[in-house]
């Protein structure tokens, strides 16, 4: 009995994840297909949708949440995010600045 409930709960998680991901992906593609905003705004919207979808993947497919037992690995992901942020933002800042000064 308990097993079937747990199974049902987890299955629901996967289904919610799938639906969310489809909706968020579809929205992003639709935005580009019908372009209701200027390109800069669109890029921001797409970035936001991507971030939300990544969070949905982590939450519903990979079971990462704020539960105490999962916190260590949330820390690992956040630390990785920090390092990636530093490396990518720093690199883009440097390269774009150099490009600007070359033109």
């Amino acid at each position: 009995m308990e097993d079937r409930q747990a199974f049902g709960r987890e299955l629901r998680r996967y289904v919610i994840g799938l639906v969310l991901a489809l909706v968020l992906s579809g929205a992003a593609f639709a935005l580009v297909a019908w372009a209701p905003l200027p390109p800069d705004g669109l890029l921001g919207a797409i970035a936001g949708l991507a971030l939300l979808q990544v969070m949905a993947h982590f939450r519903f497919f990979l079971h990462i949440d704020l539960k105490q037992s999962h916190r260590d690995d949330l820390q690992l992901i956040l630390f990785t995010g920090l390092i990636i942020g530093l490396m990518v933002a720093g690199s883009l800042w440097i390269i774009f600045n150099q490009n600007q000064r070359m033109m």
């Binding site: 690199s91 440097i94 390269i95 600045n97 150099q98 000064r101």
Partner: protein
């Protein structure tokens, strides 16, 4: 070192003209490499030890064996790189307004192999070996989390080193420096195989290091003995943890930089080329995203070693443990924020330069905290001065000098004046030699008795120390002066006669350093000869404080018969004080240990084949190597991982031998540390 005109399907670009016949020095080096390899192989054959070596060492997944092999690899490569440095110093002292005895091309290879070997095949293996040996013992574990992966990492690193050694015989190696800057390393400026040697050797090593980083981090998180909370870890383990985190996050940048360079060279793409939309500054950015954390990877373990040394040889708890931990973590994170200081002059705005310059200065603060903590550890301690601590003292003074020049260099306008001069060369050697090498040599001296069961001779150790320290100052202080006077780095010739006296002094320093290395070798030879009178079977020759001293020397295969329960920092010291250090447990249990595996040597061999094939465009060999490696790993996953169980009786017998040695030994006071009466049992409360 001719340029190939013919390419065959069987041998690719390889032909007899790869032999460096145009230079006597190069042929000499090739000969030494060949004779060295043949001589070693011949000696092993003569002694009939191949089977033993394969069974007990090459296929071993024991962290202690793997650690020792890493250190052996590092010491061999250190010898080559020191000799290369000596040759370069002699060339520069000679070639003042004349051509010297080394061509510019050859000089280019020398500084490239010197740097690449020192970083990737000396420093990395050395620190990996020391951490591998010591850390599991210090946390009260039986091994690392992934023993077979450990063996694979070693094999890949050795394969990379082998590739660099092969480049002595089948020349040339890259002339692009250890950093391999594009566009010089692109096909248009470096059409030969040299840069490809560099790319694939570094790639093999970096895969090994990434896997090691994962292995060590998981071990530190998951294999600690009960009661060993993070804040009870020895400082050496904290630095090992931060080092492994840096390895995990920094290595990918190197992988990307070298892989994209390879794509440019092999497939004609345009990442870093002069034309076709390439951006050569992108290479420097990617490389130093790796390169800066890398220098902290090679420095942090030494900081950990020094922490152990200062507290052990002051017979005192480390001063400011928490501040040392916080400083180490801060250094680890900040090391990802400063990489631009390696290319202040590359064309970005003064604003960006300023931001990274300030970040660079900030990183000096936690380092300074550590220096003070070490000094205060010694203050009011009962300090004694065996060889390992001498290295620590030399480090304290010398590293601070180097750090000060680093703060100078962190100021972009200053850097613009001395960038790419010998001032920079002096600075980074002033960091790396005391910061990395002194620490590693000290670690070797400190933990050698634990690993091999007998002490090293102090006299030769002190002689080696004197040669190295004096040699270092003579070799590098002149370079600061020369840099300020405008001498560029990596120069095969100089044209200002006023440089010559300084270059002669520097060459003298290089000679002294070489003698210092020879003294270390002699120390080892003499110590082996006198090993019977210097045995320390009980395992605690230095009156140590952490758990690695709580077992015999050499340790049993399983490290600890019973995993210790840890109640305090300096766990072994606490056990000695409370009298529980050598109390045998009421009963012994059977212990399961992972069996040896051939997967390491197999992947090492296949990796070497793949790399060699890629270098010389021998496509069938490259393909075989890559596909073979994938196949070998898949096949290996189908083989159940064998374990060997040591019965409780076997464990009891081994432990009984140790306890008999304890009973026979008289406790040695700290003053009698170097006497032959020191059997590894320390006097408590002395």
């Amino acid at each position: 070192m001719g340029i190939e005109a013919s390419v065959s399907p069987w041998l690719g670009k390889l032909s007899l003209s790869a032999l460096p016949t145009d230079s006597v020095v190069a042929m000499g080096a090739a000969l030494i490499a060949v004779l060295g390899a043949l001589g070693t192989a011949g000696y092993i054959t003569w002694k009939g030890k191949w089977h033993y070596l394969w069974r007990e060492w090459f296929t071993s997944v024991d962290h202690k064996r793997i650690g020792i092999m890493y250190v052996v690899l590092a010491l061999v490569m250190l010898a080559r790189a020191v000799i290369e440095a000596l040759v370069m110093r002699l060339q520069q002292a000679d070639a003042v307004n004349q051509s010297g005895f080394i061509s510019a091309e050859h000089f280019g290879q020398l500084f490239s192999t010197h740097g690449s070997i020192m970083i990737f095949f000396m420093a990395m293996p050395f620190l990996t070996g020391i951490i591998n040996y010591v850390m599991p013992l210090q946390i009260g574990a039986r091994d690392v989390s992934f023993p077979a992966l450990n063996s694979i990492s070693l094999a890949l690193t050795a394969a990379g080193a082998a590739l660099v050694m092969i480049s002595l015989i089948l020349a040339p190696f890259s002339t692009g420096g250890w950093s391999g800057y594009a566009p010089f390393t692109e096909l248009s400026f470096s059409p030969g195989v040299g840069v490809d040697y560099w790319i694939w050797a570094v790639t093999l090593g970096s895969i090994g290091s990434t896997l090691t980083g994962i292995n060590l981090a998981v071990t530190l998180y998951k294999q600690r003995a009960p009661g060993m909370d993070l804040m009870r870890l020895p400082l050496f383990c904290w630095t090992a943890l931060c080092t492994s985190i840096l390895m995990i996050f920094a290595m990918p940048a190197l992988t990307v930089a070298t892989a994209l360079l390879a794509l440019d060279r092999y497939l004609g793409m345009h990442f870093f080329t002069n034309d076709g939309g390439g951006n050569m500054m992108l290479y420097a950015n990617l490389f130093w995203l790796f390169g800066h954390p890398e220098v902290y990877i090679v420095v942090l373990p030494s900081f950990g070693v020094f922490s152990e040394l200062f507290s052990t040889f002051s017979a005192k708890q480390l001063y400011g443990y928490t501040s040392l931990v916080v400083a180490t973590l801060t250094i680890a994170v900040l090391s990802f924020t400063v990489w631009l200081h390696h290319f202040f002059t590359m064309g970005q705005s003064a604003h960006i330069n300023a931001v990274f310059g300030i970040a660079t200065m900030l990183i000096g603060i936690p380092t300074g905290v550590k220096i003070y903590d070490w000094i205060f550890t010694m203050f009011r301690g009962q300090v004694r001065f065996p060889t390992p601590l001498l290295w620590g003292l030399a480090f304290l003074v010398t590293f601070v000098i180097g750090g000060l020049t680093g703060i100078l260099l962190a100021i972009p306008p200053v850097d613009f004046l001395v960038h790419n001069t010998t001032f920079l060369v002096a600075h980074f050697h002033n960091m790396l030699i005391p910061g990395t090498l002194f620490g590693m040599i000290a670690a070797y001296q400190f933990w050698f008795p634990k690993a091999f069961g007998f002490r090293l001779e102090e006299r030769w150790g002190k002689l080696a120390f004197g040669c190295w320290v004096l040699g270092f100052y003579l070799a590098f202080m002149p370079l600061y002066v020369l840099g300020l006077e405008g001498m560029p780095r990596r120069s095969a010739q100089v044209f200002d006669p006023s440089f010559r006296p300084w270059l002669l002094v520097a060459a003298g320093g290089a000679v002294l350093i070489t003698l210092g290395l020879a003294a270390l070798v002699l120390q080892l030879a003499v110590s082996i000869r006198h090993r019977d009178r210097n045995r320390v079977p009980v395992g605690d020759p230095w009156d140590g404080r952490s758990l690695e001293w709580a077992c015999s020397a050499p340790p049993p295969k399983y490290n600890f018969a019973r995993i210790p329960q840890v109640d305090a920092r300096d766990a072994f010291w606490a056990m000695k004080q409370s009298g529980t250090a050598y109390v045998p447990p009421p009963r012994y249990d059977a212990i399961a240990l992972p069996q040896s595996s051939a997967i390491g040597p197999v992947l090492g061999g296949l990796g070497l084949a793949a790399a060699f094939g890629l270098v010389w465009h021998i496509w069938w060999m490259a393909g075989l190597g890559v596909l073979g490696s994938i196949g070998a790993v898949i096949a290996w996953t189908f083989v159940p991982r064998p374990e060997r169980t040591l019965s409780a009786e076997q464990v009891a017998r081994t432990e009984a031998r140790w306890h008999a040695a304890i009973a026979e030994a008289t406790p040695a006071s700290r003053d009698a540390e170097h006497a032959t009466s020191n059997r590894g049992l320390a006097q408590v409360g002395a």
